[in-house]
Structures are given as C-alpha cells and as structure tokens.
C-alpha cells in the first residue's frame, strides 16, 4: 500500500472538500476557533429523528411549487463530534459567574443556585404547552399566582403582571399603565421625568410609551436635585422614573418628599427595580410611595443572565392601577376552605392588553420563585444586608486609591472614578477595566452612570466572599499602582492574557460584518 499509494511528496490530498477545519484548541495559547461554517464539509450530518412510519406523499402535493424552496438553506454540515468540540471550545473562551467574580455594576451578577436549574428542567414545568387550557395547567397557574403574591409582598404593591420578558419590557409596561391610568381619568399628559443618572432603558422606554423625557440633574450628593425637580413638576407630568438606590448606588433620602411632590401634581412614581437587591426585606418601593415597580428577576432573584438573557421583568402596581394590568392574568378562581384552590385566567377590566406572546418567561419565573422560596423572609433580608456590606467594604478599601465621587456610604454598589489615574500616562477607566481582566476578574461597568467622569461601577453582590473581595480590591490597587508607575502600555494595551486582546470596536462599526456571509 505504501508504494502503490502516494509518493513521499503527496500530502494526502485533504481537504480537497471545502471547509471542515476541525482543529483542536490548546488549553492556553490563542488559536482562533473557526466558525461553524468553516467546520462544515458537504454531506456531513449530526441530526437524528424518530422513525415515524408515516407514509410519504410526493413533495409537490404538500407545497405548491411557487412556494417550494428550490435549494436547501445552507446551514452547516458538521458531525456531532465537531459540533460538540466547537461549542465546548467557545465556552472556554467565555468568562462567567461560575468561573469567577463578575462585579458588573447595575447587573447584580450573583451566584445562580444550581437547584434552580433542576427546577427549570422538571418535565412537568418545561414540557407544558402554553396554549393548554387552565384545566390542564393548574400547577403552572398556581406557581405564577404564588410568585405574584411574593413579589407584591416584597415590593409592597397590590398586584403584578409577570408578562414582561426583561426590565426594559417592564418599563414600557409600566409607562403604558401610567398612560392608561391618566387617560382613563381623561387627563392626557406628555412628560415623564428621569434623573440624569438613569439607565438608558428608562428614556428609551419613555419614548416608546409616547412620552417626552424631561431630565432632572443630580445634586452634589448624587441624588435628585430637589429644586430642579420642583422646577419641572407640573400638571403635564405623567410621572417620574426612579431607581432607589439609584445608579450611583446611593439611597435617595428625599424619596418621601419626591413622592409627595410628584403625587401632588397628579403624577405617578415608577420604580426601576434593577437595584432592588439592596433593600430586600428592609424597604419596600410601595412604602416609599411608588405606584409602579418593575423587578429584574435575573438580577435580584438570581436567574442566570444567559450571556445576555433571558431575564424576566414583572411589574407590580398599587391598588389603583390593578384594573389596567396586562392580561390574561393567572388568578385563583375557585376552591374553598376544604377544596383545593382552582386557578384560571382573567383579564382585568381596563387591561392595557398583552405584553408577551404567552405568559412571560415562565421558566425564568419558576427559577425566581425557587430562589425566593429557598431564601424566605430571613434569607432575602440577609441578601440585601450582605450585598450592601460588600459594596461598602470595597468602597472603603478603594477610597485610598480611587476617587470616590460622593462621600457617603453606598448601598449595594459603588461608583468610583479613575480620573485620578489619568496622569501621567493617560490611563482611563476603560484601561483599568481591561487590565482587571488580566487579573482574573470581570470588569465593573464603565462610563455609567454618565454623570460620573471615568466611572467604574462596582457591584460585588452578596455571594462573593470577603476573601474574593480582598483579592478584587488588591487587583484594583495593583492596577492603580501600575497606572502611575509602570509603562503606560501595561494598561493601555491590556488585556494581555485573554483569548483575544483588545478588540477593535471602531473597525467593527466602520466595516460592518454582521454575518459570516458578509465577510470580505
């Protein structure tokens, strides 16, 4: 065979078929991972379907010819083996909470208990078709009703919709509720007030809600400037959107006064619940005077963030807004003291309508209820206390090396500024963030909120241990030292030890390559 086959110069003729690169990846080193499409080789397959025994009709009889596809959609042709290798290698190029601390401010990247994965995988939950009638889905309905009750107790509100799929969807829902409520009173209003520290989804949602954004500045204490607020409050104000603690991690101490003044002009208060983790069981938005509250279950209630989603953004409201909630809503419809409760669907009288294809991100909701049940009233309060403790510890610890823009204790997160590192090397917050990657941590949120120069927004969450905080703080300190004492490129070229190094974002936007097929 040796002689007959190929001369010494013959290299085996592979691959003469296009594609199909299925390299291994070093555990370290920086091999690129080819795309799925580059792993493809014509004729390969991984799929396997049931043997059904269904008699087949000619395809012409199934789909009229003008609708029938003439050539298959080119997907990729890979073996299961290469599919697994590809995505497993991709996973090795991805940081995650399960790998280490992820102090990404405003995002509450806490540990996601694994038992909640088991809950979400239960065939009796995951295998239920959403259009099945209530008689066949009593378990789900009860679960949703129970979750709603718990969320209302936590927020101090009267009822909630579980439909919004994320915080931003919750915001829009809340604004539509606000609009419906005003309109029902025959009171068309046009403006919604937002502090300048607000998250970008707030103004974007206001626009979608058909309102005009009115921005109020923060005062030197990082809170809503009360005078400025008074200046913009009038009868055309439909409401105000606040998060408290706000995005600086500071508690709006004047919240009662704000509530009173907004209510005085007939406006409603919307609570952006992204920061609810700070106050669980200690303060309730309802008790602060809020009328509408969204929660980010993926933040506060630890449903995993999934690389960017899914989340869930239920919206709870005070009594007077209940008739406007989206529908249909899961409710208890029967059963008595002796009989087991019976659940069904009901659409509130003046419902704004549906906000989701079905009933919301149901399996995310189930995870959140599991988390809630695990923690209970005692555990939830500890969550808030320790989250705030961790943030204050980091704040105190970093106060010697970074600028702390507001000289007040923080809540669950702290915004520090890297402006003091600018000299002599021009180091910026982004450089600090990138350098932190080299040291094994995810970066904090950078340049948000917009009102703090060179902002680094650090949210340790309660699931990071004091030892991890110590390591994180030491890393920040080391970077501050490097910023001033080492050659500039230590930071400005960072990261040095990641799967790819600093990525050219400008080029991506300039020469847009949004798909593999768009490659030059």
């Amino acid at each position: 065979m040796t002689a007959a086959g190929a001369g010494a110069g013959d290299r085996g003729n592979l691959p003469s078929t296009p594609g199909g690169q299925a390299l291994s990846a070093p555990l370290l080193g920086r091999a690129e991972e080819p795309t799925l499409f580059e792993h493809s080789s014509p004729g390969r397959k991984a799929w396997s379907f049931r043997t059904t025994g269904i008699p087949e009709l000619p395809r012409e009889e199934l789909v009229p010819s003008d609708h029938r596809r003439t050539a298959p959609v080119p997907v990729a042709e890979v073996s299961e083996r290469d599919l697994v290798a590809h995505f497993t290698r991709l996973s090795h190029r991805q940081f995650s909470v399960d790998l280490g601390a992820y102090p990404l401010g405003s995002c509450t990247m806490k540990y996601n208990p694994k038992v909640c994965d088991a809950v979400a995988a239960l065939p009796g939950l995951a295998g239920v078709h959403p259009a099945a009638p209530a008689s066949l889905t009593q378990g789900w309905l009860r679960l949703l009703v129970d979750l709603e009750a718990a969320l209302c107790e936590i927020t101090g509100m009267a009822a909630a919709t579980l439909q919004p799929a994320a915080g931003a969807a919750g915001e829009l829902t809340g604004l539509l509720l606000m609009r419906a409520w005003h309109e029902a009173r025959g009171d068309a209003r046009h403006k919604v007030i937002i502090p300048d520290s607000a998250h970008g989804t707030n103004p974007a949602s206001v626009t979608l809600g058909g309102y005009e954004v009115v921005t109020v500045p923060s005062d030197e204490r990082g809170c809503v400037d009360m005078a400025a607020l008074a200046g913009v409050l009038d009868e055309d104000v439909a409401g105000i959107m606040l998060t408290n603690p706000n995005t600086l991690g500071l508690f709006e101490e004047d919240i009662a006064a704000i509530a009173a003044s907004v209510h005085r002009v007939g406006g409603l208060l919307y609570y952006d619940g992204a920061n609810l983790n700070a106050i669980l069981g200690l303060v309730r938005p309802g008790d602060m005077g809020f009328d509408i509250v969204h929660m980010n279950l993926h933040k506060t209630f630890a449903t995993p963030h999934g690389g960017g989603g899914p989340g869930a953004g239920p919206v709870a409201v005070s009594e007077r807004l209940v008739p406007f909630l989206p529908g249909p809503r899961p409710v208890r419809v029967g059963g008595g003291t002796d009989d087991p409760p019976v659940y069904g669907w009901s659409t509130p009288e003046r419902s704004i309508g549906r906000m989701h294809s079905w009933h919301g991100n149901a399996l995310v909701l189930a995870r959140a209820l599991a988390y809630l049940t695990l923690h209970g009233r005692d555990g939830l309060r500890s969550v808030a206390e320790i989250a705030v403790l961790n943030a204050n510890w980091i704040r105190q610890r970093l106060s010697g090396t970074y600028d702390i823009p507001f000289d007040r204790p923080c809540m669950h997160e702290v915004v520090v500024s890297a402006r003091n590192l600018r000299q002599p090397n021009g180091v910026r917050a982004l450089d600090v963030a990138k350098r932190l990657l080299d040291k094994g941590f995810h970066s904090p949120t950078v340049y948000f909120p917009l009102i703090v120069e060179e902002a680094l927004m650090i949210e340790p969450t309660e699931t990071e241990s004091p030892q991890t905080l110590e390591a994180l703080a030491s890393a920040f300190e080391a970077i501050a030292y490097e910023a001033t004492s080492l050659p500039a490129d230590t930071l400005t070229d960072a990261p040095h030890h990641t799967p790819v190094r600093r990525v050219d974002e400008a080029r991506a936007a300039r020469t847009l390559i949004p798909t593999f097929d768009a490659r030059p």
Binding site: R69, V73, S96, G306, A362, L374, A509, T515
Partner: protein, 448 residues
C-alpha cells in the same frame, strides 16, 4: 437564611469593624426610619433545597398538559420538536448560562462568536442579509419591526393580516397605545389575506405585516403583498415560521424588508411559553435602525479575528430616548441554543425537518377529515398546522382528548369569530404513525 451567602459571623463582624459600624443595620442609616419595614416580610422562612425541589415537583405534578404525559398535537406558535441531548448539553454549559451581555469582548468571545453564527443562520433562513442577536419572542420582534417600519417610512399606518398570531396582534395593539401607530387588521378570506386595493382609509401605509405560513398554517401570497408595498412605499414585514424555512421560498426572496419570527422550535422547550426567542432580520438599508444587539466581526490589536457588539450607537445605553429600541437584556441563551440546534440539524436536517412536519401534518389532516362531521375550517393550502371544524366545541374536544392521553390542539374560538368548533392542530417530526393513528381513533370517539 439562604446557603449562598458565604460570610461567616466572624467575617461580618470584621468587615463591620473596618467600616466603623457595629451592626448590619447601620449600613442602612441613609434610609429614613419612617420608610423602613418594621416587620419581617410575610413570606415563609428560607427552605432547604430538597424541600424546595419537592415543592416544585408538586407544582409540576399538577400540570396534566406536560409532554411526558400528554402527546402534544398543539402548535399555534409553540412546537414540540426534538431537542437532542447534545443541544441540551452544549446550551447548558455554564459559561453560556452564567455570563451576561458581552460588554467586555476580550473575555466574551464564546458568546459573541455563537451569536455571530446565530445571526448568520437567521439571515440565511430569512433570506435577508442582517439579523440581530435576538429579541424576547415572536410578538416583541413584530412590535420592533413595526416600530422600525414606522420610523423608516415616517408613517404610522400599519396594516396587519389577521393571519398573524392573535397574541402577537394583541401585543402590537398594546404597544401601539404608546407609539401611536394606527393598526388596521385585514381579515382572512378563506384562510389567506387579501389586501384591500387600494389600502383605504388612513394615510400612506408604513408597513404590511403578514405570516408565512400564517397562524392557520396557510401559505400567504407574499408576491401580492410585495406588490402592494411597491405601490405604496410600505415596508413588507413577514412573520415567518423558521422550521418551514427549510421547505419554503425565503421571505427575502419574496421581497420582505423585515422578517420576524419565533425561534422556539430550535432547541427551546415548550416551557409554558417562555423563555422563547424573537427572531429579527432586515435589509442592509435598514441596519442602522435595527433594534437590539448586533455582533460584528473585527480584529484584536494583534490582528486576530474577534467579535464584538457593534453599531452600539443605535442602543439605549448610548442613544437613550433616541434609541431604535429600549431592549437591553434579550434572549441570548436561546439564540446560542438555536445556533447549536441548527448546527445539529445542518443543511440536510433542516430540510428534512420541514418535510417531515409537512408529511405528518398532511397525514393527520387527511385522516381527520375522513371522520364524520370533521370538516376543514379553511381551504387554502397549509403547511406546519391545520384547522378543522368538529361536531363538538373545540374546548370539549381538548378536554376529552386529554383523558385519552393527547393534547389535541389549540381552540380557535378566542381568536376568530364563530370558531368555537374549530381546532388548530400541529404535528411535528416527533409524532409517529402509531401515535397519530391513536389520536385519530381517540378523536373519532370524543368528537362523535
């Protein structure tokens, strides 16, 4: 107290001391006392993990309509497709599950590349060049498409086919209260949309929205819709089923400007309706109006291929009230799942999947229509699913079929007038002939 907080009492005490505090309570000094909750939350005490699992087992047991007990013949936007072990294993990798939006591309190439591959696949399925990184679900994708079209055409008159999923139309209506879009519903004529000629009333139309196939499984004439758009300057928004994409001409080929859809069929479980996956693709002309995240290819400082979220200037965190959308958290994990599942299906599997569903659907439809009293609800050619009228109310059929071990379908009574006796039935590649024959036998019994 939950077991996920690592801090010991000693550590807490030390940390407080460092802060010059003597109790955790003092951390909340900034909170006015009057606002503080003066009692415990009225929730149970924290529970042990196995007890919580047992509780959720109870919730789960109370659901009769679960795939492991009732054979699923329901569709209507949610489908019982094969999810192989390999998809579950890969999509369940904790690096994908427990990371967040790839703000730091240097440590997020895993998710970014997976999304880049997802975008490529969605673009190929739709026949359009650009796709985003996901939206919440089919409904929200449709809303975003309408918002995009209204902005692009500077027109708020949106014509929506009644063949769009009824829930999606409801969500459109809900959101229109904020945006001020005027939605006009075009009713179905024997299962398909016949656009009024001319589109009467209202101003210049901003968009036509039509399903492919539509909610009843019928094949719409996209050519006709495109023609209306060409005449009027409206954009053509097609809500397309991605599984049928394996066997149908792509909406892009038909001339769609925006294609939306529900991506649940690619590896995501029925899950009582969520989390699902909103698919969104559009023409290059519209890319700067794209809602949501978009991943693009670029290089790192060493020239190595890399991926990054791009055209960020459209997004809410930068553009704020002028953003193309308010979307922030999306459905990335489902998008990664879909990329994996499509990789598993591959070119041949996607086509095979489409045809198998079509064959099975036809087999059951023909068999049901042979039963006495069962008649077609509409006559247009169908793929994906079909609707029949039955001698007894659909609600009753579904109830009785459950006792026979089947989730019979979705009643059409709430979505269409005069359709209480109409049932929408879907058959996926997972149903065998034996199962379908048993369904027919049971149907004959309960719908007699």
């Amino acid at each position: 107290m939950g077991t996920y907080i690592p801090h010991t009492e000693t550590e807490i005490a030390e940390m407080l001391a460092f802060l010059g505090l003597s109790s955790l309570d003092e951390l909340f000094a900034a909170v006015p006392a009057a606002l503080r909750l003066q009692r415990d939350l009225e929730l149970a005490e924290g529970a042990e993990e196995p007890d919580v699992l047992a509780l959720f087992d109870e919730y789960a047991s109370a659901n009769r309509a679960r795939g492991d007990r009732l054979l699923c013949f329901a569709g209507g936007g949610s489908y019982d497709h094969e999810i192989p072990a390999v998809t579950r294993a890969l999509a369940g990798r904790s690096e994908f599950v427990t990371s967040y939006t790839p703000y730091q591309p240097e440590v997020a190439q895993g998710v970014l590349q997976a999304i880049f591959e997802f975008q490529t696949l969605v673009a190929r399925l739709s026949g359009l060049p650009v796709a985003n990184a996901s939206l919440y679900d089919g409904a929200s994708a449709t809303v975003e498409a309408v918002n995009l079209a209204a902005a692009a055409t500077a027109s708020q008159d949106i014509w929506v086919s009644e063949g769009i999923h009824p829930h999606w139309r409801q969500v459109l209506a809900t959101c229109a209260a904020g945006t001020g879009h005027r939605l006009r519903t075009v009713t179905l004529t024997d299962g398909v949309t016949v656009w009024p000629d001319p589109l009467d009333g209202g101003g210049r139309p901003g968009a036509l929205v039509v399903g492919y196939p539509n909610y009843l499984g019928c094949l719409e004439d996209l050519g006709a819709a495109r023609a209306v758009c060409d005449q009027t300057g409206a954009l053509l928004i097609v809500a397309a089923d991605p599984v049928c994409a394996g066997i149908l001409r792509s909406p892009g080929e038909w001339g769609a400007d925006v294609v939306v859809g529900e991506g649940q069929p690619f590896g995501t479980s029925l899950g009582f309706g969520g989390p699902y996956l909103g698919l969104f693709s559009c023409t290059s002309a519209l890319v700067r109006r794209l809602p949501g995240r978009l991943v693009g290819e670029t290089v790192d400082v060493d020239g190595r291929r890399a991926y990054v979220s791009t055209l960020r200037a459209r997004e809410q965190d930068i553009r704020r009230e002028k953003a193309t959308s308010n979307v922030c958290t999306n459905q990335t994990l489902m998008a990664v799942t879909a990329a994996i599942q499509l990789g598993w299906l591959g070119t041949s599997g996607l086509a095979e999947l489409g045809w198998r569903c079509a064959q099975a659907t036809r087999y059951l439809r023909d068999a049901l229509l042979r039963l006495p009293g069962v008649t077609p609800y509409v006559d247009a050619p169908v793929v994906r699913e079909f609707s029949v009228r039955t001698p007894v109310p659909a609600e009753v059929v579904i109830d009785r079929m459950a006792d026979e071990g089947f989730l019979a379908g979705v009643g059409l009574g709430t979505a269409f007038a005069d359709a209480d006796d109409a049932l929408l039935v879907a058959v996926t590649e997972r149903r065998t002939r034996l199962e379908i024959d048993a369904y027919v036998a049971a149907f004959a019994k309960v719908a007699a």
